[in-house]
């Protein structure tokens, strides 16, 4: 007797709806056991992780601040992935946007430049991100180079360029050689929305991006093309859709959003350009995109949820002395269950008693 995974004839709608809830439920069960093993009260621990950060305005703001770049990048990535274009280099596009936008901030520093500075920075950041993303896209379309590899490799190029700039030409003359630019002028800084908090204009832009993504995918022909090219390439060809053009387009949009997120992060919460401006946003956003099932609203929820686990993890460290590693284990378990449960949308378990049989389509 054995247990096999069998492909379903069609996607199960019930499982599709229930899957995230099952995943969260299983995560909670697993974490409860883990907390008990660690000798912590599991109910207070889960309360600290999930409820405490939602209970006051400051934490809510911080969740939004943390989620902003993740959501913005993930929306762009979801367009790529829907169109079967695998942009893994959002981190690099994020950094390039940050670098390009910072160029204006550094050059106008102390010159008394007007309010055009910030909009120009945001535009240039988005433009640089888009152009940077077009490199792997063009290599893919023109030479058939794997965009997974090229986009990933370009992350390190961007990282080193940023590193060079803040160590050399753009270094703060008063900064004792530490690799950072001087603090940006107020006109080069993303305004905050609530006095005393860190919530900034970027979060509003992220919401607009989510809405735009939803409209693009749900209401426009272009969005339809993107989905068809990804889901049924042959049908798309018969339909006369140009797959190459869509690769270029989705990469450009994705790069622009990543670049925009980059310059917003630098001109917002950080306030200057330095190495380490991104704790891996470009990569975490890949997780956010898939957790959100490549759906704009889903991505918004997934981004906020992931941000919640970061903030909750800090609260757990502070109030319950739960080590940071447990937060990482927690995020890993959650992702594992989400993906595992999602496979049940397309597959189902079956117990067979006869001789071994290869599960059809299970590869």
């Amino acid at each position: 007797m054995q247990l096999i995974l069998e492909k379903r004839a069609e996607r199960s709608r019930t499982v599709a709806l229930a899957s995230p809830l099952i995943a969260i439920g299983l995560t909670i069960v697993t974490m409860t056991i883990l907390f008990m093993v660690l000798g912590k009260n599991p109910i207070s621990a889960l309360y600290v992780y999930f409820i405490v950060p939602l209970a006051d305005g400051y934490s809510l703001q911080e969740i939004a601040v943390k989620a902003t770049p993740l959501v913005m990048i993930a929306i762009g990535l979801s367009l790529c992935y829907l169109a079967n274009a695998w942009n893994i280099g959002a981190e690099g596009q994020f950094l390039m946007g940050a670098v390009a936008g910072s160029w204006i901030a550094v050059k106008t520093q102390g010159t008394g430049a007007g309010h055009w500075v910030l909009p120009a920075m945001l535009l240039l950041g988005a433009l640089a991100g888009a152009l940077y993303a077009l490199i792997p896209a063009i290599c893919k379309v023109r030479f058939g180079a794997s965009e997974i590899l090229t986009s990933l490799m370009l992350v390190y190029v961007a990282d080193l360029l940023l590193d060079y700039l803040v160590r050399g030409p753009w270094r703060d003359p008063q900064g004792f050689n530490f690799p950072t630019t001087a603090e940006f002028d107020p006109v080069a800084t993303v305004p905050t929305l609530i006095e005393g908090g860190r919530l900034h204009l970027g979060s509003i832009l992220a919401l607009i991006v989510v809405a735009a993504g939803a409209v693009l995918l749900g209401k426009t022909i272009k969005g339809f093309e993107i989905r068809v090219v990804g889901a049924a390439p042959r049908a798309a060809r018969f339909g006369g859709f140009n797959a190459n053009q869509l690769i270029l387009l989705t990469f450009a949009i994705s790069g622009a959003l990543s670049g925009l997120a980059g310059i917003i992060e630098v001109a917002g919460p950080v306030g200057h350009l330095q190495p380490g401006i991104s704790p891996g946003y470009g990569f975490t956003a890949i997780i956010v995109a898939f957790l959100g099932r490549l759906n704009p609203i889903g991505i918004l929820i997934a981004g906020l949820f992931l941000a919640l686990t970061f903030i909750g993890g800090e609260q757990a460290q502070i109030t319950m002395k739960i080590p940071l590693d447990v937060t990482k284990v927690f995020q890993g378990i959650l992702l594992f269950y989400v993906l595992a449960c999602d496979s049940l949308i397309l597959y189902r378990f079956r117990i067979v008693s006869s001789s071994p049989q290869v599960a059809r389509g299970a590869h």
């Binding site: 530490f178 950080v270 704790p279």
Partner: protein, 359 residues
């Protein structure tokens, strides 16, 4: 939705634990922000040991909390503010890169006191503290020059900031008193804690002919490589002898406990004041690990130098200090460089045939 239900249930169930924490509310809350994991066995580990010593000493009057592995980017400010909001009244932020985030939070919460390690920005409620590690580097330079057969030292740098640059210079000045032709090879790993890169740098330095490894990074990875290759090395931040029983010559041990205890006592007494403390061997802000894996005469020399520095008879940056360009550096501190010149050190001394990044 099920989360809301859980929340309601949890709220009822933990009501008990909340009241118990209220009892402890009159204890002074002291917070720490760590760069690495507490188990990095280097920099962060030493701060953690000091925190534990603090708890041992004043545990009945204080309650401590730490956040580990906090990156020096956009997350740092939130981490500091989280500690403030959790009621911590004295907060130690233990890495250079927390300087601006700490300052931002300090301005927002004038009634909370902050202690920032190794930075240069201060405020009425934000003090700084650091150690004169260059003193230890000078001793290590002398030892290295005595012990190196090749006459080439391998130096793993983190960031080319003055603290690190002054360490390299002090090493070379010390080494040159023994061997005027000593050479140093420097690799920057651009990180404080990255065991993989640190190990790679150590390998590369040994491959390039260096036979003594020195580091200004936080993990024992380089010590392990030296040990594997049968070479000598200096530990950093903490006692690393168990990673290289036949390799470690000595190690600069960060001993923050006395300072932490003193500052927390001041906070308890209400006498805490902002300021800058830059202590050295003379105030035991750091110590030297036992001198091992060297002949007795070298050990004696090292102990002699340590005693002279501790007594204030020997200053590693005694004038004349000659820069890479062959010009003497202006001597602002009488017979040695002034503190501000060391704190802002942005040049290599003569004898280093490498270029300071960004120069």
């Amino acid at each position: 939705m099920n989360r809301n239900l859980l929340g309601a249930a949890a709220a009822l169930l933990i009501a008990g634990s909340l009241t118990s924490s209220a009892v402890a509310a009159d204890k002074l809350k002291v917070g720490f922000i760590y760069l690495g994991p507490v188990g990095d066995l280097g920099w962060t580990y030493q701060h953690e040991l000091a925190r534990q010593a603090l708890v041992k000493e004043l545990g009945d009057k204080i309650e401590t909390t730490f956040l580990e592995n906090v990156p020096e980017g956009p997350d740092a400010e939130r981490a500091v503010e989280q500690l403030v909001r959790a009621g911590n009244k004295l907060i130690f932020t233990t890495s250079f890169g927390y300087m601006d985030p700490t300052l931002k939070v300090a301005k927002k919460y004038p009634n909370v006191h902050f202690e920032h390690c190794s930075g240069y920005k201060r405020d009425n409620n934000m003090a700084t503290y650091s150690a004169r590690w260059y003193q230890g580097r000078y001793i290590q330079g002398e030892i290295a020059a005595k012990m190196s057969k090749a006459g080439v030292l391998g130096y793993i740098g983190s960031f080319p900031i003055p603290e690190v640059v002054s360490g390299i210079n002090a090493t070379m000045i010390g080494a040159q008193t023994i061997n005027p032709n000593i050479k140093v090879k420097i690799i920057w790993v651009n990180s404080w804690f990255d065991p993989g890169k640190e190990a790679d740098a150590a390998k590369a330095l040994l491959d390039q002919g260096a036979d003594i490894i020195m580091q200004h990074t936080d993990s024992p990875a380089a010590m392990q490589i030296a040990s594997e290759r049968g070479k000598l090395a200096f530990g950093q931040d903490s006692e690393m002898i168990k990673f290289g029983p036949k390799s470690q010559l000595t190690s600069i041990l960060d001993t923050w406990a006395p300072y932490y205890i003193e500052r927390v006592k001041a906070e308890l007494d209400g006498t805490w004041k902002s300021g800058d403390v830059w202590g050295g061997l003379e105030t035991k802000m750091f110590e030297m690990a036992p001198y091992t894996n060297m002949p007795d005469d070298v050990k004696k020399m090292a102990e002699g130098t340590q005693a002279a520095i501790t007594a204030g008879k020997l200053h590693p940056f005694k004038c004349p200090v000659v820069g890479q360009d062959g010009k003497e550096v202006e001597c602002k501190g009488g017979d040695h460089l002034e503190d501000s010149q060391i704190l802002g050190m942005n040049f290599y001394v003569k004898g280093i045939d490498d270029k300071l990044p960004g120069k």
